[in-house]
């Protein structure tokens, strides 16, 4: 086929799509939905996996009560799930003293404020912890808490959602789920609001560990017996407990040795290490759900391609004359058939283009849900091969499906097509 004829086909295809604009718009919308859905499924799956397994975690391992490593990671890193229990404070001190450990930060959880969890911790979370290389938690306003005061530093997301600002006061609520009847009497004052980090830390209200211990109703069993903190009395280290200890290693080999020692030989604590591997296991377990979603997406793509073809086939009868005219002007059978393939592929391409808008909408909705529930951010400009493969594949699929009406166009009888209609 000559270049001029290709240009003619392109012009005819464009004009035909314009002439049948309602049908074109509907089929392109079907294509856009299917392409957007497939792109979103793959992109969200990959992005969330990246975020949960290799995102800005900042720690290498979590030490916690004996139990599931996954639960420990979800609870301590992503501030989801319940805590598997507590470990004595001395475990934290022992880990902290290990020369292979660069940083150990204790977490105590069990209270919330209007659904956002309070994490009792030490000032090192602000002074030494880097959630990404070279990036520490910084205050957007105010300052970090006094370790001995009933003060709070609020994550950016919590501050925005609850409208909290420096100087505000609040009562903690017992438990990790907000129950208005479980209000503690203590009053904490917001002294700082953190800058956004795009990590689960944005969804946390940080309070001093000592103040966490002293909230009425909290009892400590670090030494085996119940210890109730009293005002003005220093809490002995042996009575303290923590929910988990966040660890950054200097030497990964030590992590392996510690993991062997704690997980295989010990019976009191669990070391969740390495964190990305623990989370990857979660994604492997729920991988079937993504495969099902992808399968649905592919099925919808196929249905969309068939809808495109159905629209073209339905228009064939009214276009027999056009095909006959083109043949009379010198267009060959293959050229007329090619017009159908081109129109089908063009509808696929047009729909795929709008598919990016559908993809962006689904991604925005998913990102909002993920951010609200985990604090993890999805990127709008995340690259995944599906962003090229789905539109191109859909265009190709529509082009191939266009062979069905193309065959019918190929068979059009010129003389019959040109005959005046009565």
């Amino acid at each position: 086929m000559k270049g001029g004829q290709l240009n003619a086909l392109w012009l005819l295809a464009r004009r035909s799509l314009r002439q049948h604009r309602l049908s074109t718009a509907l089929t392109a919308a079907c294509v856009a939905l299917s392409v957007g859905l497939v792109m979103a499924v793959f992109s969200i799956q990959a992005q969330s996996r990246d975020a949960f397994t290799g995102g800005a975690i900042g720690f290498d391992a979590v030490l916690g009560a004996r139990g599931s490593q996954l639960q420990l990671v979800l609870n301590s890193i992503f501030h989801l799930e319940t805590s598997p229990g507590n470990i004595p404070y001395r475990y934290y001190k022992a880990i902290q003293a290990n020369p292979a450990v660069a940083l150990a930060v204790p977490y105590a959880v069990g209270d919330n404020y209007r659904g956002y969890r309070l994490v009792g911790t030490e000032s090192t979370i602000f002074t030494d912890f880097e959630y990404q290389v070279g990036k520490k938690l910084k205050t957007a306003s105010g300052r970090f808490f006094d370790p001995q005061a009933k003060e709070a530093v609020v994550g950016s997301y919590v501050a925005r959602k609850l409208g909290m600002k420096v100087g505000d006061t609040f009562h903690p609520y017992h438990g990790l789920i907000y129950d208005p009847s479980a209000m503690h009497a203590e009053v904490f004052t917001v002294v700082g609001v953190l800058e956004p980090t795009g990590t689960p830390n944005d969804r946390v209200i940080w309070i001093p560990l000592d103040s966490f211990y002293r909230i009425a109703g909290h009892v400590l069993r670090g030494a085996g017996s119940v210890y109730t903190p009293r005002d003005g009395v220093v809490i002995p280290d042996q009575d303290k407990e923590v929910s988990s200890v966040m660890i950054k290693f200097r030497d990964p080999e030590t992590a392996m040795v510690l993991s062997q020692m704690i997980n295989n030989q010990g019976s009191v604590a669990t070391l969740a290490w390495p964190i990305p591997k623990v989370m990857a296991e979660l994604f492997d377990k729920i991988g079937w759900a993504y495969r099902v979603l992808a399968l649905i997406g592919f099925a919808v793509m196929l249905v969309s391609a068939m809808a495109t073809v159905a629209a073209l086939v339905n228009s064939l009868e009214s276009r027999r004359r056009d095909f006959a005219i083109l043949r009379a002007l010198g267009a060959g059978r293959a050229t007329v058939a090619g017009l159908m393939v081109l129109e089908s592929a063009a509808t696929g391409a047009l729909g795929s283009l709008f598919g990016f808008a559908v993809y962006a909408a689904i991604l925005a909705a998913a990102a909002a849900i993920l951010r609200d529930s985990t604090g993890v951010l999805l990127g709008a400009w995340y690259w995944h091969p599906v962003l090229a493969a789905a539109p191109l594949g859909m265009t190709l699929l529509c082009g191939l499906a266009g062979l069905i009406p193309a065959l019918q166009a190929y068979r059009v009888d010129v003389a019959a097509g040109l005959a005046p209609r009565t």
Partner: protein
């Protein structure tokens, strides 16, 4: 050498009972280069079948159709398509313009399947037809006379050697009809194209020096007509 020549051309259509209805049976017909001629015949005498055979749109049962010395059916359909695109212009009774395209695009599309795109010529042709200010109008936005002139410009787009016109004034009133035929003759003469018009309209026929009754050429119409044998199948308009 004739620019269009038909030798021993026969064309028949199948009948529901398995027989065939012979519509065209020509011993010989020829049209010289740049010659202008009108073929006369009432409806149903095979005028359109004759023109479609000339254009390679219908393949005769037997015989030979030569355009510019080349047998239009000798080398398969692709050859016929190429000859139709390059050497023939066809003006249909119902104009057969592509409704989705503008007047200019209708002419340009024909060029792309023929001699090649030439915007300047397309504009000039439509200008000559008095449509210089209607280039962007689609057929639905034009009067019948204007559509007919677009069809004429399209037929001349590829500098054809022969222009075939099938009842070109069938949808026009008397005044427009005379003007259209004058335009057709003048345009073909200017481009050096032969013109073959088939019509049953005496006013149209009167405008041509060379006129002939198709019935005089067509032996099929000289035979006694057969009794009606049920509806014809589609596949052409005899």
């Amino acid at each position: 050498m004739p620019i269009l020549e038909l030798e021993g051309v026969k064309k028949s259509y199948p009948l529901p009972d398995g027989g065939r209805h012979l519509v065209l049976d020509l011993a010989h017909f020829s049209l010289g280069a740049a010659e202008q001629m009108a073929l006369e015949g009432p409806s149903g005498t095979g005028k359109t079948t004759f023109l479609n055979c000339c254009a390679g749109i219908l393949r005769p049962d037997s015989g030979c159709v030569r355009v510019a010395g080349q047998d239009i059916n000798a080398s398969g359909e692709a050859k016929a398509d190429a000859l139709r695109g390059g050497s023939l212009g066809y003006v249909f009774q119902t104009f057969n313009l592509l409704q989705g395209l503008s007047a200019l695009e209708n002419v340009e599309v024909a060029m792309r399947f023929g001699a090649g795109w030439d915007r300047e010529r397309a504009v000039a042709l439509l200008g000559r037809m008095g449509l210089g200010n209607k280039l962007g109008h689609r057929p639905g936005q034009l009067s019948s006379g204007q559509q007919q002139r677009v069809a004429l410009a399209r037929a001349l787009a590829n500098r054809p050697k022969v222009v075939l016109a099938d009842e070109p004034t069938g949808n026009l009133d008397a005044d427009a009809s005379q003007e259209a035929v004058e335009l057709l003759k003048e345009a073909c003469a200017r481009d050096g194209a032969a013109l073959l018009v088939v019509s049953h309209d005496r006013e149209v026929l009167r405008q041509f020096k060379r006129r002939q009754h198709l019935a005089d050429l067509n032996r099929a119409s000289q035979r006694p007509s057969k009794p009606a044998r049920g509806p014809r199948r589609t596949g052409g308009r005899p």
